[in-house]
Amino acid sequence: MSQTVFAPWEDPDEKPLIRFQNVTKRFGEFTAIYDLTLDIFEKEFFALLGPSGCGKTTMMRMLAGFESVTEGRIELAGADIGPVPPNERAVNMMFQSYALFPHISIWENIAFGLRRDKKSKAEIEARVEEMLKLVRLEKFAHRKPHQISGGQRQRVALARSLAKAPKLLLLDEPLGALDKKLRQETQFELMDIQETTGTTFVIVTHDQEEAMTVASRVAVMDEGRVIQVATPAAIYEYPNSVYVADFIGDVNIIEGLASASGPEEYALNWKEGQAPLTATSQKPFSEGQKAHLAIRPEKIRISTERPDDTVNAMQGKVLDIAYLGNLSTYHVELPDGQVIKAQTANTRRIARRNITWEDPVWISWSATAGVMLDQ
């Protein structure tokens, strides 16, 4: 049985659930969002990722209805939601601070939205019980929010925002207040819940690991603009700019001038008197165009002798070693002072490893290991 990969964004016939059309948002003189166009599809787990102040929270608040759009329009299931007030949108939000109502019980918190819809008593009871079960908090139903722990509060907030079965759930830094271990567990829980309920999730986060873990697609934002929208793997392996490459994970950037050396292959003259580097690129570069070669540290090999089978090799000396247990990152200084990071998996025990500080080493990588970027 073959399973189809979930990728509605590749299907031209698929109608997006949310459509940002040339959306601009200004606060007085300050422009928070510049001419943004973006489609989000049903059942997606979509992450808005960026540093603070990049406009990701503004986008979420526009979806929830707490901010108006200055120019352009936002469609939800084909209809413009601009004139719809927040309490009439089929969109619910999980707040960063959780915003649980402190004066009523967990049960009543979850029932709050259902009561506003004038649902029958039996219906409300059934739905609240279902939600409590989903987030495994049946035992705490009659406690007040300040009588439970932070992780439990987070789950109550999730249950409350899912209770009305919204078309779209917005999550504003949902795991920001949890410690690292709990955060990782909760990420998987979120993914499970997203799959079980089939709700479209849009999550705002500044934590790239979190975005990569949970999301089907990630939009990397900077200063009110979306820089790249792609799957986590594509964002990591094929960033479209130095900004994205640098924001997601660790990367080495080598600047130089490109010149064609074969079909989809370029020689990068990165330093006078040094052999040019070879890299492939589907994106064409003109002769002498400035290019940045971005290579992830784990794609660089480190050895004591020059490897024969490689196209790109440089000599340097070990400046620093960051031992992370499962991995070690070597900071290798080239003769011109530039530092290149190379990462290896520690598959052998420590005594068997032979590279140490100040050692002269060779670093090498293949032609396809890096990505050539023009900006």
């Binding site: 619910n92 960063q96 439970i148 409350r160």
Partner: protein, 273 residues
Amino acid sequence: MKRMSWFNVTALTLGFAFLYLPMLVLVIYSFNASKLVTVWAGFSTKWYGTLFQNEAFLDAAWVTVKVAVISSTFATILGTMAAYVLVRGGRFMGRTLFSGMIYAPLVMPEVITGLSLLLLFIGIGLDRGVLTIVLAHTTFSMCYVSVVVSSRLVTFDRSLEEAALDLGSTNWEAFRLVTLPIIAPAVISGWLLAFTLSLDDLVIASFTSGPSATTLPIKIFSAVRLGVSPEINALSTIMILIVTVGVVTASLVTKRNAIRAQNDAQAAERAAN
């Protein structure tokens, strides 16, 4: 327990003496058997007895309580509404003017407030009585309520209201079901403050009261002008007692809530670990 230095003991004694000696003298003399206020002639509670047969005092006390309850309730409603608009309303036309004007009566001399109200009531031909005192007290005490409530609203987490809207409530529902219950302690404090202010106001009440209605402070003040009687001492002692009970109860309730919240938080912390 650590022994206090002589300096601290002196400071404490002086402070307490300064604050409470006058009241203590008043309380002691309310149990004086003599009709002469300054001559001690043995212990007696007879002045409390005569006080409760004095129709004029009882009437004035009833008017005072009635005025205080009604005016502080109106002041709380108006003051809370004003505070909500000032804190939450954003930048509407005339906001600065309005916020300046709502605090103006706080610093306005009472004589002027009283006089201007008197002129207004005469101007519109309103007979002075309970109604005019209620209106006057509402006017000046709503500013105090508004100050108390707005200082609470400033620290109120806005996302709670947004969450209520997000879950489908109207603005009014969000206020009634979420904001109001949470800021209730501040609203109650505002009410108590307005109640106290109304209870002991002399200046404004004397401008706006008429022959049909006299409040207790006015009654006491005019009685004292004819000479202090032990009856007045007894009345004052009762007022001190009522105020003390009120303040102690309020602070006990606050303290108990704080302790309970702390215990709950600790229990939750333990349960999480």
